[in-house]
Symmetry: C2
Subunit: 425 residues, 2 copies
């Protein structure tokens, strides 16, 4: 078995890639409590930007504490659209096509039902088993609750990790009203080709809803140009918005006035501050707001988005691709020979900023890795899932992580970890 | 016209009431940036507890920043039930009958639809026009979207401010499946007698859903003992949870297993961390969770609830009643003679911790008052709405506010404020 000694040329590669990395300086923008910890969980909960700490402390003390109710007039209502417009840049939407609100599931529920209610005469919603389970729950609820007789067709993946576009294309009939997919699949990191899917789907009169939770910030997104109809996503993964930070939704601008929010809340009203007894929806995407937005949580998202915008979208995509590419070299040299498999596609344009390894002892290996300061996800039954965040992960961190995996497997130190199943949102 | 000179006996009364107030020391638990500002908007957005500042700074730096994804295991999942159980004490629920989640409107939507879907064979939902307009929007949506043929009957108020129990009683027929009301009406401060309503409503096989947004923390609430079926509310008013802080819902414990959440999210799953493709609801109230909860916002609620629990429920109710009672003495002496009317009932057990004054120039008076550091709400067309927070408002603040109202009206200084309509969540 190959060892991974300090003399190995891949260490030199890692160093040289880090030295040339134009985003190198962004690591210091994040709070790094333990410089030895290799945090590969940015696809679950992103690191804390230093400026978010400062921003939150200010908004708590100076705005909630001093402005009190006047905060709504002075900044908080503006904050909502300011943050949304920044996010729009990141996901390739026009201003006014994005809003932050609620959780991803609530947003998916609102958009899916709104969409099915205008796709009269159609009957089928297509998704795939690579989608987030929670998205499947919501889509099942939506087909039951929307007007008309809808059913959900869940396409299966032959290898459990990917789904060729042709399979979706074949499933599309004139009865299909909506195709709802995750852009990057949470288990394998497989990336759907949304641009091509959008063409195919629209040829058949269906609409396209994409969950971009795992792609926003690390994969090129051109939602508007791709003519995507609807999208949802969260901000706590690669967007670094904080634990349980607000989710978002996207509605193509021409579509918003046609859709009715099934949950008509006060802030979705055309004129929320008149307190009319009758609901009249805001003209544009604003109608998908529901209740009073969480100001502190919204404010936490803004500095995180600023960082991504400063780093530059293309730089972020380029580095995310570089990190996965480099990891695959390490995988081929050290992990494949040790019995690890690969769930993530090898083609760079078929994966997100994520590598998922397969190993029968994935659970105890993930525990052993955590104790060696490599923080990654276990996903049942046998996946080790790693997200690579272009703003704070380095190439040398990946090399070090692989060195530790090798030591754990070679020494069989993972055997001391009791059986169990764990997981983290 | 009576003036309100320093020699007036009501000043002495105010001083003496403050001196005897057992909650006096709680004011220092809140951030008071300007000691001269009289903040009567605790029913819109409560003041910032000092310990919330400390708590949030810790959770941001030490938990998000250091624990990162491990925070879920270490405290954040426990935080959810810990905060919910504290809130349960405040609203008179059993542990396991309350959860914090989403916004009030989303919670109302979930509970109303879940309720109507089990009240088969019935046809009518009753509410009243004193309810929050946003609750009316959601109830209208619920009757359209729930299974069966439902219609919403909105009882009108004869005086615009109150609704006698007999009127609701008369409206209840065997066709009524749900009565949904706001405990304290946001405009007038009128308080429904929920205990008696619950008896009447249950005699007819209907269920009772109460929005306690304006009563939680300042009015005695015994949701469980009163056999209330369902309740919703927000935490940013008298519970001082912060701008847009998470809302809550209550489901009587025997009822939870019978109700289906129309928005089945991952955290409402029986075993969220298994990521099953099939949804199976949690056994109890947990099924009404949807997405990943906002950790920072949840954490902000906890110290605020601790303060209320330390102050003691009975003390809080007693003081809230004392403040409104004292304000009415001031009203009779100074404001009625100046052309102000009263929208709030005079009987102490028919009102919340709120007084709403009627004045044709309510809008400019509210602006002039703000410039004199009396912060209160204007509600169209002619209401001046004041919330009295037992933990930080004093009797002398009320006397001072009334002194300022007199000066504004007597000097007609409000005439310099341009016409306009404003309002705040």
């Amino acid at each position: 078995m190959n060892e991974f000694p300090p003399s190995h040329p891949l260490w030199e590669t890692a160093k040289s890639l880090d030295a040339k990395d134009p985003l190198r300086k962004f690591r210091q923008e994040f709070m790094i409590a333990d410089p030895d910890e290799i945090y590969l969980n940015g696809n679950s909960l992103g690191r804390l930007p230093v400026r978010t700490v400062q921003r939150l402390e200010r908004i708590i003390r100076e705005q909630w504490g001093v402005w009190l109710i006047r905060g709504w007039d002075r900044d908080w209502l503006k904050l909502l659209s300011r943050v949304a417009d920044k996010l729009a840049v990141i996901i390739g939407a026009h201003p006014g096509e994005v809003l932050l609100a609620d959780s991803t599931s609530v947003n998916l529920y609102k958009l899916a039902i709104a969409c099915l209610n205008i796709q009269r005469g159609k009957k089928v919603v297509i998704t795939d088993e690579l989608n987030f389970p929670s998205d499947l729950y919501i889509l099942r609820a939506a087909v039951q609750q929307a007007q008309g007789n809808w059913r959900l067709q869940i396409l299966s993946s032959e290898d459990g990790n990917t789904l060729p576009l042709e399979k979706i294309e074949k499933a599309i009939t004139p009865e299909v009203g909506l195709v709802a997919l995750s852009h990057v699949c949470f288990r394998s990191g497989f990336l759907h080709d949304i641009s091509r899917l959008s063409e195919v789907i629209h040829q058949h009169g269906a609409m396209l809803l994409v969950d971009v939770s795992h792609s926003a910030g690390v994969v090129p997104l051109r939602l508007h140009d791709w003519k995507v109809d609807l999208a949802v996503g969260c901000t706590y993964k690669f967007l670094n918005g904080g634990p349980g930070s607000p989710a978002f939704l996207y509605v193509r601008e021409d579509l918003a006035p046609l859709l009715d929010n099934p949950i008509p809340g006060w802030l979705g009203h055309e004129n929320p501050f008149r307190f009319d007894l009758e609901y009249r929806p805001a003209r544009g995407i604003g109608r998908f707001r529901v209740g009073t937005p969480p100001v502190l949580a919204m404010a936490a998202v803004e500095p995180a988005l600023d960082l991504l915008l400063e780093a530059g979208q293309e730089n972020a995509y380029h580095k995310a691709k570089g990190l996965t590419e480099f990891f695959l070299s390490l995988y081929d040299a050290f992990l494949r020979p040790r019995g690890f498999g690969l769930a993530t596609p090898r083609e760079p344009d078929r994966r997100g900023a994520q590598i998922s390894l397969i190993h029968p002892e994935a659970w105890p290996i993930s525990r052993a890795a955590r104790d060696r300061k490599v923080v990654l996800d276990f996903r049942p039954p046998n996946l080790l899932r790693m997200g690579f965040a272009p703003l704070y992960n380095s190439y040398q961190e990946l090399a070090r992580a692989v060195e530790i995996f090798c030591q754990i497997v070679d020494s069989q130190s993972y055997r001391q970890y009791p059986e169990g199943v764990d997981g983290i949102p």
